[in-house]
């Protein structure tokens, strides 16, 4: 096994993408994800890949659309305001059934907000973000190693289901450094008979488009896409369950909030409090089933978020009224401390 390397989350994403066979990166700089672009700018020319700093975020996502249409693994990355700009292109990719990886290293919002970490793009990521009926598979890593692992997984899922995948991180995850093993489980991209690679006069034209001229056909396309989403929901849910066996209190948290919460769970257990953690790794599809089952014995849920309370809506839907769901949060670039989460565990979070 090769030596581990000490990487920033952003660098781990970039290197993992290269290992996954991505040779086409299109982006536009924005803090706190600029290291992804900087890393690609250094590495891509050395391996015969393309790094292109586009004239805007909108241009970058449409370049991903074009490259994905031609059948290659392509990606873009940005941070919250930049992802909003990409919204139209992401919707077009979903409407054209194109695979691709979109990385969002979230910062505080709304608007220009700030450059410190946030998780307040949860709604935007899991509810679409662009227009129309569609979903992204949304992956939420909680370590630098997972940043690498989920990048590879993201390309695989995108190709498997022909849909865009979002890697949803935050400023802390992007900036923090941890040792990473780059022995990643890489599988080669599958054949893409639908790609626009030239007919060589041997087949009919492949057409990549999201425009439908006939309403009946558009309805059919939407229905077919949602059947595909049902399969994704059945097959691709990922979560981590921590100290949940006898838990009477359940924290639900992802990404950096889950790391903080884990410390709080360990501290509370030392005080004799029966608390556990469910960490969604896929935010869409959301691990609703495991949370719903937990609600049969858990007396109280706490959603820990770096937002005013967004994922809490999915937790409530999953719990379905069987137990109260409380919120523990910080916003504006601030991160809850383990002590704050511990207080929420022992004394209750903000009641709603």
């Amino acid at each position: 096994m090769a030596d581990k390397v000490l990487m920033k989350g952003n660098e781990a994403i970039a290197e993992a993408a290269i290992l996954a066979g991505c040779r086409h990166y299109f982006g536009y700089p924005i803090t706190p994800q600029t290291e992804i672009a900087a890393y690609m700018a250094k590495r891509m020319p050395k391996i015969g890949g393309t790094f292109l700093q586009a004239e805007s975020e909108i241009a970058a996502i449409n370049m991903v659309y074009g490259a994905a249409s031609a059948g290659v693994r392509a990606m873009t990355s940005s941070s919250s305001p930049g992802i909003s700009l990409k919204g139209e292109g992401i919707s077009y990719m979903a409407g054209s059934d194109l695979p691709g990886l979109i990385v969002n290293v979230q910062r505080g919002g709304p608007g220009l907000g700030g450059i410190q970490p946030s998780q307040s793009d949860y709604f935007q990521s899991t509810r679409g973000g662009g227009h129309g009926d569609y979903h992204l598979i949304v992956l939420a890593p909680a370590s630098v190693q997972e940043m690498a692992d989920m990048t590879v997984k993201g390309f695989d899922l995108a190709d498997k289901y022909r849909m865009p995948v979002m890697l949803l991180a935050d400023g802390t995850m992007g900036q923090m450094m941890e040792p990473v093993s780059l022995d990643l489980a890489v599988s080669p991209a599958p054949e893409k008979p639908w790609a626009t690679t030239g007919t060589k006069l041997a087949r009919r034209h492949n057409i990549i488009n999201s425009l439908s001229l006939v309403p009946e056909e558009l309805e059919q396309l939407n229905n077919a896409r949602y059947q595909k989403y049902d399969i994704v929901k059945q097959n691709e849910v990922m979560y981590e369950s921590f100290m949940m066996d006898d838990a009477e209190i359940c924290i639900v948290a992802f990404g950096i909030a889950a790391r903080v919460s884990k410390n709080a769970v360990v501290a509370a257990r030392k005080n004799g409090v029966k608390v556990g953690l469910i960490r969604p790794i896929t935010l869409w599809p959301f691990p609703a089933e495991v949370i719903g089952k937990a609600a049969d014995h858990v007396k109280r849920f706490i959603s820990v978020e770096l937002s005013m309370g967004q994922m809490i809506e999915d937790v409530r839907l999953a719990v379905a009224g069987k137990a109260p769901v409380e919120l523990c949060y910080r916003v504006g670039g601030m991160i809850p401390t383990p002590e704050q989460v511990l207080t929420a565990i022992e004394n209750g979070g903000a009641k709603e």
Partner: protein, 220 residues
């Protein structure tokens, strides 16, 4: 270990420059009356010397840093007080330069005065476990890029190879050969090897000029 009036720390992004700079300033303060640390990072708005401002000022060290560090104002600003570094020759200074050649650009403004006085050490900090400087060749490439951008030649190497929390004595020892190769290729001496302080006992006697570092935690 003797240090010149100005010690500059430069190197690849994330090689550990800031942590070494803060530790060095605190250690110099034990033998020098007037010590300053200057943060010239124009690249990275995170993990700044500002995180250690409190402990530095408590130790009586002059803290020179952009007003905007650690704020949401994400612009490459330098503080006007930076000129104290070259104007006040009674000040012992540690300069924390931003990562890579882009970070070293900020140095150009001070380089002529530093060269003219010629009482400086410019140290190249390397961590061979960082992805883009895993070999002596790659590290040398970064070293040369920084010299070109900063208009100041390096005078020595600092081996700060580590794997964060997973660093063992062996992690450090396995980089000795690569460090020697980098020294040979660059013609520069190894000035010191820095390790997280708890690793010191296991490495004492095995490496020359070993320095223990305390990790800097953010205090708001």
């Amino acid at each position: 270990m003797d240090f010149k009036r100005i010690t500059l720390l430069a190197g690849h992004y994330g090689s550990g420059k800031t942590n070494i700079a803060v530790n060095l300033a605190l250690s110099l303060r034990q033998t020098h009356e007037r010590v300053a640390i200057a943060d010239l990072d124009i690249v990275n708005p995170y993990f700044r010397t500002k995180d250690s401002q409190y402990s530095l000022e408590q130790a009586g060290i002059r803290f020179i840093c952009s007003e905007y560090a650690n704020s949401n104002v994400d612009i490459p600003a330098l503080p006007q007080t930076l000129y104290a570094v070259t104007d006040d020759r009674n000040l012992t200074c540690v300069l924390d330069i931003g990562g890579d050649d882009r970070g070293a650009l900020a140095l150009g403004r001070l380089a002529p005065a530093i060269l003219e006085e010629n009482n400086y050490d410019m140290l190249f900090v390397v961590n061979f476990y960082r992805p883009l400087t895993q070999t002596p060749q790659d590290a040398l490439e970064v070293l040369r890029e920084i010299e070109l951008a900063g208009h100041l030649p390096f005078t020595g190497i600092v081996n700060n190879s580590n794997l964060g929390d997973e660093t063992t004595p062996d992690t450090v020892l396995r980089t000795v050969e690569r460090t020697e190769a980098l020294c040979r290729m660059s013609g520069l001496p190894l000035v010191f090897t820095s390790v997280h302080r708890p690793l010191l006992p296991a490495l004492e006697g095995k490496l020359p000029n070993l320095i223990g570092l305390d990790l800097q935690a953010k205090i708001r």
